[in-house]
């Protein structure tokens, strides 16, 4: 197993290297560069433009720059952004990566859970109006033109109902008189930590409630969800000295993008689970279980769904990788300052170091999620052994 993981890690590194070389040269093959954009003012003499180009290192041959960039990358130096000079790229990425991760991890997990639980019920109750309507809804959510769907969500929840803010990361008017040391990332990272601690407590509670007698189990399941998050809310409300309102501001901006990405991901997972369940229900052991007279719910959840999980797991992990790049759409429509939006903005103004940084981070996350998928198979299906 460990040997396999090591082998895969090596492969991941090799892929990353190839990916970087290809994308760097691809970016370099473009006509024009950022020096043209920065010196659009006609008063700037052409000589100055040449000096700027030389200072940014843009006069060197592409291959040399690619080698310099990649060797610096593995030393941990991602360069300096051209458009937000002199801010280091690593700094920008470290600020924006958590925002993307929070958005997509929470949305993917919720949509996976919801899609899996409803997909297995749908496959079990085959035929009839429910199946066709839910398939149509699933297909609609899966293939809907994402920008339009996001706009509809904004229209419904923030314009028509007025419940949630329409986009962006925070409401700047609210943040005018914050204390000196408080900024968006300060609050956001603490929110992430408190949410992680809350989820950890929930997981522990859910595991512990498995040992309780079945009469108490449902109540303790609910309690282990409600109590930790109640504690988190109480902590932010009363024990942070008024910082709770800022956290609430970020949270309210987070809800709508998460909801949109969740709904879009839900369709795919639901359809995939249904197909996978239909194949599993054909197996002989399901027939055996039925013949033994086991309750339907046990057959569905314990015998069929666990085996049907395997392809859906692939789908989940691919979805995390895919939603990071597909996240460009969602992040742009919601003006959510994550990696995707950074990539799009950097690419359109030809800020090569920043675009490379964002693209590499997306690539690394995709590669890691594929690795996790392959390792996860071994745990989900004991028949799979890696050598």
């Amino acid at each position: 197993m460990w040997k396999y993981i090591a082998k895969r890690l090596l492969q991941v590194l090799l892929t990353l290297l190839l990916f970087q070389i290809v994308t760097y040269l691809l970016m370099d093959a473009q006509p024009g560069d950022i020096a043209d954009l920065l010196t659009l003012n006609p008063d700037i003499p052409p000589a100055q433009r040449e000096i700027l180009r030389r200072d940014l290192g843009l006069d060197r041959p592409p291959l040399e720059r690619a080698v310099v960039y990649i060797s610096n990358f593995y030393k941990g130096d991602l360069g300096v952004s051209f458009s937000q000079y002199p801010r280091p790229v690593l700094d920008i990425i470290m600020e924006r990566l958590p925002r993307t991760l929070v958005l997509f991890l929470s949305a993917t997990l919720v949509s996976f859970w919801a899609g899996f639980s409803s997909g297995k019920v749908l496959a079990w109750k085959r035929g009839g109006l429910i199946e066709y309507s839910s398939t149509l809804i699933g297909v609609f959510l899966y293939t809907v033109f994402t920008p339009w769907f996001a706009l509809m969500m904004i229209w419904l929840f923030s314009i028509k109902l007025g419940w949630l803010p329409p986009g962006k990361f925070l409401d700047p008017l609210l943040w005018l008189d914050t204390p000196e040391h408080v900024n968006a990332n300060f609050i956001f990272m603490r929110m992430v930590w408190s949410a992680l601690i809350g989820s950890g407590m929930t997981i522990v509670g859910l595991v512990l409630s498995k040992f309780l007698p079945s009469s108490l189990r449902s109540a303790s399941n609910w309690a282990s969800v409600i109590v930790p998050f109640g504690l988190v809310f109480i902590f932010w409300g009363y024990f942070t000295g008024g910082l709770g309102s800022y956290a609430w501001d970020i949270l309210s901006h987070l809800v709508l993008p998460v909801l949109t990405v969740t709904l879009i991901g839900y369709g795919g997972t639901m359809l995939l689970t249904r197909t996978s369940m239909l194949e599993t229900l054909r197996e002989d052991y399901i027939m055996t279980a039925k013949a033994k007279g086991l309750p339907e719910k046990v057959i569905r959840d314990k015998h069929a769904a666990r085996n049907a999980l395997l392809p859906v797991w692939t789908g989940l992990v691919f979805a995390i990788g895919g939603s990071l790049s597909g996240g460009i759409i969602t992040e742009t429509v919601f003006s959510w300052p994550g990696i995707g939006l950074t990539l799009l903005q950097a690419a359109t103004i030809e800020d090569i170091p920043l675009a490379m940084g964002a693209l590499t981070v997306t690539g690394v996350l995709t590669l890691i999620s594929h690795l996790v998928a392959d390792v996860g198979y071994a745990f989900l299906d004991p028949r799979i052994r890696y050598h």
Partner: protein, 315 residues
């Protein structure tokens, strides 16, 4: 044509037997396909958009005056203020630049079909060849090709497309080729390879080899025809992906395509009509067309999946 001479009577020519077999197979598969309303709905939507795409050039040359109804350069002088709401003259209104929205919609659907078709064909050509070759030869060829596929799968597809088109400005054909190549070297190849592995061990492949068939002969006349059903299935999913990617790229204004559904929404956005629902005809027709056509190809793909994969069928 070959005529098989029997001792008593002249049998039918071979091509007619093949045609009959094909017709019989088609009838059987059509019956399976028609069992699911999902597939029929999808097919209906595709046919609808196909008719729309064919009707536009006819309409422009007969009923519609080209100067007014041209999807790219048209302008209606008789209406004082653009965008104008739907009227008898313009069934879906006009856009900000005074062009007829319905005409744009119909004109674009032709290009969406072309884009989808080109990228699907490229994908299937590449994926089928890779799948068949790597399943047939195995060993080193298989390893190299599959590592290549692994590499392409790991690349964030849309991010690369966005960076590429932001920097270079791609047209329709280039976009279709890139999408086709990326998805051809991607997951489709693995699925087709696994199918090819199960075909490869069938007796007729051994028979062909014993009869002296070369590698190329066996791959292209014995393996590939048996991979066609599953290739067709994956073509549908590629079309969905291609139309969607094009729409997103055009929506961001990154392509150099003259008119497409995504570009219609981009125009709406550029002129600031995106979040205004009093001018719904600038946003809804194009967005819904993208959604419906993508969904239609996906649904046909799913219905084909039930034809190809007997384990999914109800009976």
């Amino acid at each position: 044509m070959t005529v098989v001479q029997n001792s008593e009577r002249v049998l039918e020519p071979l091509w007619r037997i093949r045609l009959k077999l094909f017709a019989r197979g088609f009838k059987k598969n059509w019956a399976l396909f028609a069992e699911s309303p999902i597939g029929l709905i999808g097919l209906g939507v595709i046919v609808f958009f196909g008719l729309i795409a064919l009707a536009q050039p006819i309409l422009v040359n007969t009923v519609w005056e080209p100067k007014v109804y041209d999807p790219i350069n048209g302008f209606d002088i008789e209406i004082p203020y653009h965008p104008s709401p739907p009227s008898a003259r313009h069934l879906l209104g006009t856009d900000v630049l005074g062009r007829d929205v319905l005409s744009q919609l119909m004109y674009s659907s032709r290009f969406e079909f072309a884009l989808g078709l080109i990228s699907a064909i490229v994908t299937v050509l590449i994926a089928t060849t890779i799948g068949a070759v790597s399943a047939y030869f195995g060993g080193l060829v298989d390893t190299i090709l599959m590592r290549l596929v692994d590499l392409v799968i790991m690349v964030p597809f849309l991010a690369v497309l966005i960076v590429m088109s932001a920097l270079m400005g791609v047209g329709m054909i280039e976009l279709a080729l890139v999408i086709g190549i990326l998805s051809g070297f991607g997951g489709t190849a693995i699925v087709i390879k696994s199918q090819a592995l199960s075909v490869k061990v069938k007796p007729f492949v051994d028979v062909a080899r014993v009869a002296g068939g070369g590698h190329a002969h066996i791959i292209f006349t014995h393996l590939v025809p048996n991979l066609m059903p599953i290739s067709l299935l994956y073509m549908m999913f590629v079309v969905t992906g291609a139309i969607f990617s094009e729409a997103v790229l055009s929506f961001f204004g990154l392509t150099e395509i003259q008119m497409s559904w995504g570009l219609m929404i981009n125009t709406t956005q550029v002129f600031g009509y995106l979040m205004r629902f009093d001018t719904w005809w600038l946003l809804f027709p194009a967005s819904l067309s993208i959604t419906f056509l993508c969904a239609a190809f996906y649904m046909v793909g799913r219905a084909l999946d039930e034809v190809v994969n007997p384990r999914l069928r109800e009976r």
